[in-house]
Symmetry: C2
Subunit: 414 residues, 2 copies
């Protein structure tokens, strides 16, 4: 067990700096000794941040290959644009440096296989940093499912429902990669925030697996209209005025499971709305639904009421979640919740760092999880191109899912 570890960070955009500022630089057992970005100003800004927080000032790199030559790294975190995650991860695994990779969708099925194959070849630890797997509600529901309170889980829903029009439209100003994604692709481009927690509840890759997927998209109006309106007062958007975006405003994806459960996820990122992941768990004994934030338990006689009686239940989740808190959140609440995104960022990073410190080979969210969740983007792209047909889901475990068990130990292995 190491007392302290050295890490490198590759990708210093909003996400990379957010992780550093709100979480990593507050962790005394983690030194960020190297950082990398293609933009030098970002490196400088990050070094200044570390200095101002009285932490080790990391060496800066514009080429991740050079960073990965360092011999003092216990792990790297990849937090750059989606398109580069796998390329960088493959190199790091090859170099024997454990990887914690930020989330994103895959561009091809092959990309996911390459990650799995490289892991199996090198056995270098790989973890996908899916923070939402450690969300308070997601973990409470997982806890309740494991205690049998939901009976048999029959179906689950989720979504990434987040108005990103500003971030996307200003992509050329903010150097944000989402702009090109939305201009050129039409798919479920960001599935992992909802599918990670769903996969954990459904024991995907641990006795169950996703078998097929179909996606369908609405037309694309949100970004074009947003840009048309905003450009009237902001010249920086002029180059985008009138451009058509490939990405439909709403994408529905349904995923079938070997054990008969049905998963439904939505991408909803270019229309006005408040944030929701739409996390919903339908069991034979209970329902939880994020939209309304309510639990409903079988036997409640109120189900017979009609006409917006649903509103009676709204927000009972705030009370009920306290009763069924997952051990991770009991611990977290006792220590003081911290870090970005309501504490999830802190937890997923601690899950990674604790495993690295212990020298675990198995990560709490491993390469099979990563490949299974990321591949949804590539499969949805294919399905939409083919008119919404179901496409087969690869089994990245090659049959091992049938009797795989979480091998690691400790609080964070969910």
């Amino acid at each position: 067990m190491k007392d302290k570890i050295n890490i490198g960070m590759i990708g210093l955009g909003g996400r990379g700096v957010g992780l550093l500022s709100l979480a990593i630089l507050r962790m005394k057992d983690v030194d960020v000794v190297a950082v990398c970005d293609v933009y030098e100003d970002r490196i400088k800004k990050t070094q200044d941040l570390c200095k101002s927080r009285r932490r080790v000032v990391p060496q800066g790199y514009t080429d991740y290959n050079e960073l990965l030559e360092r011999k003092d790294l216990d792990a790297v975190i990849i937090s750059c644009s989606w398109a580069k995650h796998t390329e960088i991860a493959l190199k790091a695994l090859e170099m024997g440096i454990p990887v914690g990779s930020e989330v994103g969708g895959a561009y091809s099925v092959d990309e996911c296989w390459s990650l799995v194959n490289k892991y199996e070849e090198t056995k270098t630890p790989f973890m996908i940093l899916e923070n939402c797997c450690y969300g308070e509600y997601e973990l409470a529901v997982l806890n309740m499912v494991k205690q049998g309170l939901f009976g048999d889980v029959v179906a689950m829903d989720g979504g990434y429902k987040h108005d990103l029009r500003e971030e996307i439209s200003y992509g050329n100003v903010n150097r944000h990669y989402r702009l090109n994604e939305y201009l050129n692709r039409n798919c479920e481009n960001y599935p992992t925030h909802e599918i990670g927690p769903i996969a954990k509840v459904l024991n995907i890759n641990y006795g169950n697996r996703f078998t097929s997927l179909a996606s369908v998209s609405s037309k694309s109006l949100g970004l074009k209209e947003y840009i048309s309106n905003k450009s009237k007062k902001d010249d920086r958007l002029n180059e985008l005025v009138g451009k058509d975006f490939a990405q439909g405003d709403i994408v529905h994806t349904t995923i079938t499971c070997e054990n008969g459960e049905l998963v439904h996820i939505v991408l909803d990122t270019t229309l006005p709305r408040p944030y929701s992941r739409g996390f919903t768990c339908h069991g034979t004994k209970a329902l939880y639904q994020e939209d309304g934030n309510f639990f409903f338990f079988d036997g409640n006689p109120l189900h017979k009421l009609k006409e917006f009686d649903l509103t009676r239940f709204f927000n009972n989740g705030k009370r009920i979640v306290r009763k069924y808190r997952h051990p991770i959140w009991k611990w977290f609440k006792s220590k003081g919740v911290k870090g970005g995104h309501g504490g999830m960022d802190w937890l997923v990073l601690r899950a990674f760092f604790e495993a690295i410190k212990k020298g675990d080979k198995k990560m709490p969210l491993d390469v099979y999880d990563a490949a299974t969740w990321m591949v949804i983007t590539a499969l949805s792209d294919e399905s939409i191109k083919k008119g919404g047909v179901y496409v087969d889901f690869p089994d990245f475990t090659q049959g091992k899912y049938k009797d795989r068990k979480q091998e690691g130990e400790g609080l964070f292995f969910i």
Copy 2:
């Protein structure tokens, strides 16, 4: 304009008696002069009800053909089991008796064509009594969409999310037809409550049309488990113990539109939950969502908050709906809301009766609406059998949808 009309009612189960008791028997301009059911005890009970309410005591029939021979009927209402709706409607149209038909799904595409063809041949008025088209929130959203407050509507959601396990399981006791439907079919068996209002917002059959549909279902566990538990204390369920139900617990259906909008509906009737129709309208300028009962308007800076900020919006619908009430609901509130299902039953019946009294040929919700909404059941059955493929949506207007306008006049033509 007639002062008073005579109607017949065919089907005296829960729905038929509910319509009579809560609405029709309270309407002084409507006499129920004939009723029909295959069960004589139901006829007797209905006659007693009419008597106790000091209304005309209707003549009873066990054969609907005999009822339809009467010469004094201004209209019939069909409120029997789904499977008989079209057969009875065809005969009534043939006899020149205007039909108000309760809702239900179709068993085949041909069934829907037969209804359309018979209408076109006879020109006898036909209306589908889809009460939810007159729901307070559904009409408020329609009103707002017509005023441009939603911008362009890009996608809509809905559902029939209603725990029917008791009704279905006791089908042999209560003589309820749903039992056999759930034992033998797997499809979106009850789409009209949500698709009616959605179709009105999207101008389906009035410049727009549904072009294709795909459905997928989860496994079926809810009813079997419910019956297993209940039968321990109730012998009447013994004959169903251990039986497998064909109907999956959750069915997702996506429908594409000629103008590019995407519709998503859910059937969720055999798991514990409170009632919701999940009515949701996604526009470029606003969102309304029944699950949470909230409106969200573009420009609200709160969208940037994360982590259950959604809860801040829950139930703002109660306030906002008052501001944008549809003219029908302004009138209804001023007169006093009455009738079943929060007033929707009253409104849809008044829509029908007013049109009949005026001698309108065109009904507020017409045979093309009916065929388009009912056919979803048949198409979803086909799609599920074929593994979730998209099946083409028939155009029951045969091209006329392109420039059809609501021809009728008056408050109820929405």
